[in-house]
Symmetry: C2
Subunit: 86 residues, 2 copies
């Protein structure tokens, strides 16, 4: 089963990388871009066909390794359908 | 206008970070995870309300800065609707 996990900074958390990208885009002439926030995505292949079990496993994986839940949120999308988010 | 740009490695390009995450997950007991590939997402706010113009601008932004188009693909999703991809 294929899943995409996206990990983004919680709103209110400063994103220095995003700010740096904004500055670079402005200097490249893309003044229309008013804000950029960077995150990570993980395309994960997981064994099994039970969607709920896969989601539960992936939530554990996010909590254990992929996301720093103090400052980051994660969202799990399995096979292109909406999934769990935290 | 809000857009999400996802940048992922082209298939066939080795992803050492993904491999490292796979190994770490296996050692944490998540043997069900058979593959992990990491990418980046950018949540971009861009001025204007013309979707096509925003997509064209974002494609330029991707080509200029956000994606290394030799080894990476990018996909632009504006306001939750399907958008351009390369």
């Amino acid at each position: 089963m294929q899943a995409r996990v996206s990990v983004t900074l919680k709103s209110g958390v400063l994103d220095p990388q995003g700010k740096a990208i904004e500055g670079a885009l402005h200097s490249l002439g893309h003044a229309g871009v008013t804000s950029v926030r960077q995150g990570k995505i993980f395309d994960v292949t997981i064994e099994g066909t039970d969607r709920a079990a896969a989601e539960a496993e992936l939530a554990k994986v996010c909590e254990a390794l992929l996301a720093n839940t103090v400052i980051e949120d994660y969202a799990i999308v399995i096979d292109g359908n909406g999934g769990a988010a935290a």
